[in-house]
Symmetry: C2
Subunit: 501 residues, 2 copies
């Protein structure tokens, strides 16, 4: 292990302007050395309010995962560089490396899928239904006002293992709809396609097999580019004959209700004679039947223009997009089947399907909603305040409440006036205040004030805990009856980097 | 942004033997290149069982924090290198740097205290009671069988802000006892001392002021070394006169019940005439009074040999040690007052107190206990199985249960036999199985089997959800009456790196 020699010599003079919604960095007085007080580019802090929202979102999502019997794992924040090599194609340049300080060469994880595949291969696991929530790292150009960071959360679900055709795929899709429904992100649809159908289409259209992947990449751009531009790329950049491109163009226009489009393709015999496409259509038919049983087929759109960026998909692919809201269509989740990835680590092949939720976008949506609802960043139930400087009595009462698992606070001053104490209770939106002076202590009572109504009652000190527990229970019952629907939400655009699985 | 050029050239030939409890890496067949399938040195995966334990520990601890009104923040996994510079003294050599890929120079966070101080300074916060749980990184020599990792969780609590003397300090200590009590780690005590008292002792003994910090470091070693060896270091390495060392030696022998030792020191006038020590004793007296009000003074031992490693402590210091169990005394939490750290980032000075829980040790203790109790790694409540190949019926019933927020699973096969289905339910310790064949479906009923008792009853299909909800409620009421006490636990030794605050 070599000691670092450069701790004193580095003087950070990086003055790149901070993106709009980054916590405002303020240059420090040049006392000791030039140094900008900020977080690294593309990263951010979460303040207590954002953390309260985050906790709510995590709970909502993990509840959905657990309802399906999923277990969770955690993997290190960095992996051996070799583990990530050869998995991300061109995007490998976005991987963060750790400095070579002697020993192994490591990189920060780029997503949660490759570490999961490494975990399954390393532990020779045959079957696993797992979820994982964690931060991943991409040295991309951040656009933080659009919710694109270099460090961001991903939230993944995968079913690894040999099962029967389209059953795990159907459960993954069902689970995705449950999460999106419960997060109340607004109207959405799940665009769905099959890699083998795309391959079939390319074959039928006359694309040479060695061009399948690159033409697939062009098709993937249809959610951002018009067909004429995609065609131009196919013809001019990738050397495809214009008439072949036109054939593809006719196919990728097709989108609609799953069963309707499937029936149309079957009736009009579009794919007859092509083995790959025929197999894909059979599988899709099975899938649609299963989704009907799971009561979620209505969320799905069969869309032949969906291609998905990543190379490792081998079957079903899908992507959820929001279809309403100020920012229009935006991808919020995506996934697909990858039957060969785990096998890349040597040893067994474990076919898998999974998806990734663009959880940073759900954070933004929920954060805006929470602001409207004036959500609290703390959970304190009781504030203990006194008129006279009765610090020790305030402490004793707090200790009593804590012992009964009641969330309580006092002002950490020896002789505070009453006003600053009530101000803290108010600022923190604490629902109850226990209030007393010398005369109450002498009588063995305290006053309990309900902040919402101003109502105040005297309670015997030895009955305080029981009284507060009842008060808190009835408050929490009332709160459970409040709903959070119909709140207007703002949806930031394009979280592509988050939803790539 | 520069693309990486070395993705193909690195061939990892690191063959350092894996520590004992690391998931067994298995060398792969030399198919494409030499590559060891493992996590980086000093890191580990958490499997689903460990994650279930971890979730339990996090909940227990965050519940305690929230009871005291603490809020939480998250900071990036890495900071600008300059943010960490000059904060860790000699240990700075253990900091992980990110590779310079153009742009800023960053390092993985070494603890949660410095990022918190950076956050408070950057946002010009005047007061904050915050907790934070997250992973930190130290390029130390890992001893993973002793619970020492290069990547490990820290769990910090801090109160930043101008308050009255010893009140936040008392609340931090109270909170620490609540966490350790509830984690049921076994008997423990909190050793407590005051940096200003140590300074006074050095002054009284005749140590030159410029040697205070280095002599303090020697005293810190008393938990691992005998006095003769510490004295040897003081005299031979640090050039202290032997008679001065002997004076210090008399002091640091002193330890005992807080009020008793305090009274002894006062009565015997040990510190009279030394301003620093007198002030410290006054503060400690105040603290002990407050801890009495908080009903936790009995957990504390006033111990003059406690010095704590870090330079930035300025007042109260403390460390919790386990006093029973196979591995004897081991530090499990530690903290102290640091009034100058936040001011090091320029701008305002914000006096603060905090502590760090050695949460990896609590994980180990709880993990052993959970193994004994055969804790589950999943929460599935109902397994849906059929005798005949009734996949679609199984799917429909699952969808019904999921809709009612019941945790349910089915085997993802089209035509499974009944035995493998029941095996899954058994292996996962799922309490209830919904069971049916063609004849039940025709009659509009299903059977519900309680796995523990073998009891089986027929239920009308349209009453299944209501029936299951009742069953689950009564089961969960029973479970809440089970306690987890009196389980033997094994305590791993010395988590020093985790508990340094």
């Amino acid at each position: 292990m070599e000691p670092q020699k450069d701790t004193e010599k580095t003087t950070n003079t990086n003055t790149a302007p901070a993106p709009a919604n980054e916590s405002k960095p303020k240059p420090q007085k040049k006392e000791e050395k030039k140094f900008t007080l900020k977080t690294p580019k593309g990263t951010r802090d979460y303040d207590p309010f954002q953390m309260a929202v985050r906790e709510k979102v995590f709970k909502l999502i993990t509840d959905c995962f657990k309802r399906h019997g999923a277990v969770t794992i955690e993997t290190p924040q960095f992996e051996l560089k070799d583990t990530l090599t050869g998995k991300y194609g061109e995007d490998s340049k976005l991987i963060y490396d750790l400095q070579d300080q002697g020993g192994e060469i490591s990189s920060l994880r780029y997503d949660l899928t490759v570490p999961f595949a490494r975990y399954v291969a390393m532990n020779k696991i045959k079957q696993m239904k797992r979820y994982q929530i964690g931060r991943v790292y991409r040295r991309d150009n951040p656009a933080m006002n659009k919710g694109r960071f270099r460090e961001f959360y991903q939230c993944d679900f995968d079913i690894a293992g040999e099962y029967d055709v389209m059953i795990p795929d159907a459960e993954a899709l069902k689970l995705m709809t449950e999460i999106l429904d419960q997060a109340e992100i607004g109207k959405y649809k799940i665009k769905l396609n099959h890699r083998k159908l795309l391959d079939g289409i390319f074959e039928i259209s006359g694309v040479a097999p060695d061009k399948f992947r690159t033409i697939c990449s062009s098709v993937d751009k249809l959610d951002k580019m018009k067909w004429v531009d995609v065609k131009k790329e196919m013809v001019e950049t990738k050397g495809l004959a214009p008439e072949i491109a036109d054939k593809i163009g006719k196919w990728v226009e097709l989108a609609g209700a799953p069963m309707t489009l499937l029936t149309k393709l079957e009736t009009e015999k579009w794919c007859d004679g092509n083995a790959s496409a025929t197999k894909a259509l059979e599988e899709l038919k099975t899938l649609f039947e299963y989704l009907k049983c799971f009561d979620c087929l209505d969320r799905v759109e069969f869309n032949l223009s969906l291609a998905r960026g990543l190379d490792y998909y081998t079957g079903l692919i899908y992507e959820a997009v929001i279809t309403e809201g100020e920012e229009g269509v935006g991808s919020i989740a995506g996934g697909g089947r990858y039957d060969d990835l785990i096998g890349m680590f040597g040893g067994q092949k474990v076919p898998s399907i999974g998806f990734s939720i663009g959880i940073e976008r759900i954070f933004s949506i929920m954060e805006n909603r929470a602001k409207v609802q004036e959500m609290r960043d703390n959970e304190t139930q009781v504030f203990v305040a006194s008129f006279d400087p009765l610090l020790e009595e305030r402490m004793k009462i707090c200790a009593q409440l804590w012992k009964a698992n009641i969330k309580a606070e006092l002002l950490l001053k020896a002789t505070p006036k009453i006003q600053p104490q009530l101000k803290v209770a108010n600022d923190k939106k604490i629902p109850f205040v226990v209030l007393f002076g010398k005369s109450e202590i002498e009588k063995g009572i305290v006053n309990v004030k309900t902040m919402g109504t101003g109502e105040q009652v005297a309670v015997n000190r030895d009955e305080l805990v029981t009284f507060m527990l009842k008060k808190i229970e009835s408050m929490s019952n009332n709160n459970n009856n409040n709903t959070t629907k119909d709140t207007k939400v703002v949806v930031p655009s394009d979280p592509k980097s988050e939803t790539k699985n």
